[in-house]
């Protein structure tokens, strides 16, 4: 086993390495463009084991106030994180005056991350995720391999709730994470947490396969995953590509899963499609309950509340912003962190149980997608990334009309010229050289909206999974 692989996957065994090689060298494999590892250590596995115990023994949420474990954690963070210290002065009654604790937001992570990261936390294990920016405002988020590993316990829990949990180990593939973008990382790895079971991240875009969609179909056939994670757009592409796969479950991530598409995908792949709410900053938060009544909370170490514009908690049933405290990322402790997503928490009666609190009406993750002139999908993530690489600007709005033409409104940064021609050229690399694209400089973009933040991506296209061939 080459040392380079062990550096990335310190706990990888021979069976895992053989699986990894087999996947990487498969004749129908996609064009790999990245080689990550899980970076998991023995200590991380112990943390996973402990967290797994907590997750599987948790009681359904009923709390309308932060539980003692969260309050105690917040108190410990006041001594360690300047962001907490600033918000909770000496003598402040954390429990009694919880509603008055100033909230955190993406701006804290974007511009003051050094105040959030605990002052005494060792930086040696730090890794960084560049968030997808589905809503248009990407972010660099500090993370920890142990935290990523612990999140596996959450997907186990959810699969178990759907009676879809198998056991994971080499030489099987536990999960395929599928995407449908112009550009994304495409790679394979094995997860130490799951005894070196395989993992593949692949992209359903013609550019990534020698012979699409046939190679993709063969690849899925030879490496059938136990479960699949993808966004709804990608599920639609999987149907269009006629991917022959029968996972035990599919987790729908990133954007909203409409009931219609859920039904279509479930009928096609003959397995439950589970709406999954998670963010890079917070980790997994909630999943669609198998009983159909809202979304269940899954992480025992976070407290979720719904707040109004001023940050005050809203009563049961009212729609507001999802705000989260706690977490297991040692580099990103969260204190009333405003996610930018909206929902309500309602307490409902479950037959045979005490009443429980669940998440309903989750919004802020609207499905938006685009098509290039050759019919291939263009994801908002691709657009945001390529525009930011071209030139700086404050914000933008991208609209594709029903006829396929595109309009881009750009609010320039003060005293910084906007390279409209550069943006147009960059977008043509995604949409095709003959695409109808207009870039319009709009200095007052977003001014009329609350907080000055515009809706970044709009589309008049229909998501309709007809077959690709």
């Amino acid at each position: 086993m080459p040392r380079s692989f062990l550096k990335l996957n310190p706990l990888m065994k021979e069976a895992g390495y053989r699986l990894l090689k087999r996947i990487r060298q498969h004749p129908k494999a996609p064009a790999w463009n990245f080689v990550p590892g899980d970076h998991v250590t023995i200590e991380d596995l112990k943390s996973v084991e402990e967290f797994r115990r907590q997750v599987f023994s948790q009681e359904p949420r009923r709390a309308t106030a932060p539980p003692p474990s969260i309050l105690s954690w917040v108190r410990s963070m006041v001594k360690r994180s300047w962001a907490f210290e600033r918000r909770i002065p000496r003598g402040f009654d954390i429990e009694g005056d919880w509603a008055h604790i100033p909230t955190m937001s993406r701006e804290d992570i974007a511009t003051k991350i050094e105040e959030v990261v605990p002052a005494d936390e060792d930086l040696d294990r730090l890794i960084v995720y560049d968030t997808s920016g589905t809503t248009g405002h990407a972010l660099l988020v500090p993370h920890h391999p142990g935290t990523v590993a612990m999140n596996h316990a959450l997907v186990e829990y959810v699969l178990d709730r759907y009676n879809a949990l198998g056991s994971f180990s080499a030489p099987d593939v536990a999960c395929i994470n599928a995407c449908a973008q112009v550009n994304t990382y495409v790679f394979t790895n094995v997860f130490s947490v799951w005894r070196d079971a395989g993992f593949v991240k692949l992209n359903l875009h013609p550019r990534d396969w020698k012979n699409p969609p046939f190679d993709a179909r063969d690849f899925f056939t030879d490496f059938p995953p136990a479960f699949i994670t993808a966004d709804p757009i990608t599920f639609a592409e999987m149907i269009r590509w006629n991917i022959p796969v029968r996972p035990s479950a599919m987790l729908s991530t990133a954007v909203e899963l409409s009931p219609g598409l859920k039904k279509t995908v479930e009928e096609h792949f003959k397995c439950p499609v589970i709406d999954w709410y998670s963010t890079t900053e917070t980790g997994p938060v909630a999943f669609a309950s198998p009983d159909g009544a809202g979304m269940e909370f899954m992480s025992p170490d976070i407290y979720v509340e719904i707040v109004d514009r001023e940050g005050y908690p809203l009563p049961d049933g009212e729609l507001g912003e999802i705000t989260i405290t706690g977490g297991r990322n040692p580099y990103l402790p969260l204190l009333r962190y405003r996610t930018g997503d909206s929902a309500r928490i309602r307490t409902i009666d479950i037959p045979g149980q005490e009443s429980v609190s669940r998440l309903f009406d989750l919004t802020g993750r609207e499905v938006v997608f685009y098509r290039a002139t050759d019919g291939s999908l263009v994801n908002p993530v691709d657009i945001g990334r390529i525009m930011r690489l071209t030139c700086p600007f404050v914000q933008h709005q991208f609209i594709q009309r029903k006829d396929g033409s595109c309009l881009v409104l750009v609010r320039p940064a003060p005293n910084v010229p906007t390279d409209s021609e550069g943006i147009e050229t960059a977008l043509r690399s995604l949409f095709g050289s003959t695409a109808d694209i207009e870039v319009r400089i709009t200095p007052d973009l977003g001014d009329e909206l609350p907080g000055g933040k515009t809706v970044t991506f709009k589309s008049e296209l229909d998501l309709h999974p007809e077959s690709r061939d």
């Binding site: 002052a119 560049d130 500090p142 999140n151």
Partner: protein, 197 residues
């Protein structure tokens, strides 16, 4: 310090008295065979003038310490003895014990930050030492409330300022390390995870 304080002398007069400090109190303290002024003897005299008894040999030990690192401390003790010589203090005949304790223990690291002569030549440092002295004797300047006195002392407090500056430097260094680590790790790229979020 802390607790209820009584009114002391006017701060302006005390500060003016400091400005008139004779050169003898800025002379080199006796340490071993070098220096001129026997600081323990000066302190003993002041203690007596404030209503106390002469210092015994063991009590004078803090004022006979050797080493270049302690020289500034002894010089500040001398300047403080001039401060305590102010007529108002001598008239009260009740500050001997508090004054001795302040001289023996009370500078809290100030001697590492400020050179003794600045407590004579610099207006803010004169005021700082005067206020530290009053605080040590459970007094506040005439005409000021406790809150006003504490506030003003905080503004002048060199030790607190140094602490704030040091803390700020440490935070900036930590912030730099975090940003650098994130830049470096962004280039290296993150660990595999089972879904995009």
């Amino acid at each position: 310090m802390g607790g209820v304080t009584l009114q002391g002398p006017e701060i302006t007069r005390l500060v003016h008295h400091m400005a008139e400090c004779p050169d003898d109190f800025l002379a080199s303290p006796r340490q071993g065979k070098s220096g001129i002024v026997y600081v323990d003897a000066v302190v003993s005299d002041i203690v007596c003038l404030l209503g106390g008894s002469p210092l015994g040999f063991p009590e004078g030990k803090p004022f006979r310490i050797r080493g270049a690192n302690n020289r500034n401390y002894l010089r500040i003790v001398l300047v403080s003895c001039w401060l305590l010589y102010y007529k108002w203090f001598r008239q009260q005949q009740r500050f001997a014990k508090a004054a001795f304790e302040w001289l023996a223990n009370g500078f809290n690291g100030l001697e590492k930050l400020i050179s003794a002569e600045l407590f004579v030549t610099d207006p803010d440092r004169r005021e700082e030492l005067a206020r530290l002295c009053l605080s040590a004797l459970d007094l506040r300047p005439m005409g000021e409330t406790e809150h006003q006195a504490a506030d003003r002392l905080k503004t002048l407090d060199s030790v607190e300022r140094a602490r704030v500056i040091e803390r700020s430097k440490k935070r900036q260094e930590r912030a730099r390390r975090i940003r650098e680590a994130m830049r470096r790790e962004q280039a290296v790229q993150a660990a595999a995870r089972y879904s995009r979020e």
